[in-house]
């Protein structure tokens, strides 16, 4: 049994804590909490940016040869993408004309809300959920998708406070998305984070053909997340003949350690 010589400080501490919990529970403290958070948000955002800058420079120590090979590889991809982009622009123009002719309404009715990442939350798994400076007061709710500056989906909102929200990243365990492969058959599946590093897409039927470098996008079957947002690229396919389903390992296109500004997709 732990004996405490002078009990008075403990009783005062327990009384103060009890009072704080009670006032929080009956929501009397909420205006104070919101005021304190809004007061500290700019500082938190600045500190987080410094932290990610350190993280980025720490990971940037690569030898010149590997950087050069990456540059060469990317230059090749840029050339291919330029050609593909040009074809897409032509198809887009044609699409617009056809829609005008048929008087089709534009189906993308979502808007974006910019948010800054102000902190990471420690959790039991190594997922490090992000905290952004937007919340219920800005019209956010649980389940909304979050995209990076390049338009790739990076996570979704899992919890909301008045002026803060928590995002689980696509690489976080238990952060699932309804996804499809951008191939001819539009193979459907569910993505889930794997150890905070990569994404796994499971429940892919054995008969479906998927290959490394296939793009994975959101299928739109999730309630609040629109179709067509890029989740990542397939790096490995696990296909065993005695299994009912096959699985794919997906790598996100964005480095999540450098996320400082994100956008919430509001349908």
């Amino acid at each position: 049994m732990i004996k405490i010589k002078n009990n008075k400080p403990i009783f005062i501490f327990l009384a103060v804590c009890g009072l704080l919990l009670f006032l929080h529970g009956i929501r009397v403290l909420r205006p104070v909490e919101n005021f304190l958070i809004s007061l500290v948000r700019p500082l938190s955002s600045r500190l987080y940016n410094w932290g990610t800058a350190v993280s980025h420079s720490y990971g940037a120590d690569q030898d010149i040869a590997s950087l050069q090979s990456q540059v060469d590889k990317l230059a090749g991809e840029v050339a291919l993408l330029t050609v593909a982009n040009s074809r897409c622009l032509e198809i887009d123009n044609e699409n617009k004309k056809l829609r005008d002719i048929l008087v089709f309404k534009n189906s993308s009715n979502f808007r974006l809300l910019l948010a800054s990442v102000i902190a990471k939350e420690a959790s039991i798994e190594d997922s490090r959920d992000l905290i952004i400076n937007r919340g219920r007061e800005d019209g956010l709710s649980v389940g909304l998708g979050v995209i990076s500056e390049s338009g790739e989906i990076v996570g979704k909102i899992v919890e909301v406070k008045d002026n803060m929200s928590k995002i689980c990243l696509t690489t976080s365990p238990n952060c699932q998305f309804a996804a499809s492969v951008q191939n001819q058959s539009r193979t459907q599946g569910i993505t889930d984070g794997d150890l905070g590093l990569t994404i796994k897409m499971t429940y892919i039927p054995q008969l479906e053909k998927i290959s490394p470098n296939d793009l994975i996008i959101t299928s739109g079957l999730g309630e609040m997340i629109p179709r067509g947002l890029v989740i990542g690229k397939v790096t490995q396919v696990k296909n065993e003949s005695n299994e009912v389903w096959q699985a794919a390992t997906i790598e996100p296109l964005t480095n999540f350690d450098n996320l400082t500004i994100v956008s919430v997709v509001i349908p």
């Binding site: 732990i2 500190l47 932290g51 993280s55 939350e121 928590k166």
Partner: protein
């Protein structure tokens, strides 16, 4: 009047800064560096260098701020830190009777271990994910080891720094009489 309030103002500002640095700056650093548990280190330092009462005041400030940032139930960090400091205080008064660097190092190590055990136990039951107990996971022990390493380094630095300023601590090597 100001003389009586001043220590609390100092504790409020100091520990608020520690929490902001922990949550926004340190957690954004890459793996290994983001295992610095700054709030726990300064709490133990307050307990060791000052007294239990000051540590309790510090818990209220740091626990409150961490609960604001956290999406666990309000009071989560208040309870965790209270239990950790309670245990640390008992260790300090029962076993570590002198205020030497050895005592400080041992206190930091034991407190870091107990903090991680307490907080992960809470998370294990609170999250509802009762598969894979944290004690059997390598990641847990690796994180604890890194936190202990950083805590020990911080203890060495702080002890020597304060040793220049105050005479509250015994020298590292006890002199023969």
């Amino acid at each position: 009047m100001l003389k009586r309030i001043w220590p609390f103002i100092f504790i409020f500002l100091f520990f608020s800064c520690a929490v902001w640095l922990q949550v926004s700056l340190i957690f954004a650093w890459p793996s290994f560096f983001n295992q610095i548990n700054l709030v726990l280190i300064v709490l133990i330092f307050t307990l060791f260098f000052f007294d239990f009462y000051s540590a309790l005041q510090a818990i209220i400030v740091s626990g409150f701020w961490l609960d604001l940032y956290s999406f666990n139930f309000f009071g989560f960090y208040l309870i965790i830190f209270f239990l950790t400091i309670l245990l640390a205080d008992w260790i300090l008064r029962s076993w570590l009777t002198n205020r030497s660097l050895y005592s400080f190092l041992l206190l930091i190590i034991l407190s870091t271990l107990s903090y991680n055990l307490i907080i992960n136990t809470f998370w294990y039951f609170y999250s509802g994910n009762l598969v894979g107990f944290f004690l059997w996971q390598v990641d847990f022990w690796r994180a604890v080891l890194w936190q202990i390493a950083w805590g020990a380094l911080a203890a060495l630095l702080m002890f020597n720094l304060v040793g220049f300023v105050a005479r509250r601590f015994q020298p590292f090597f006890l002199k023969k009489q």
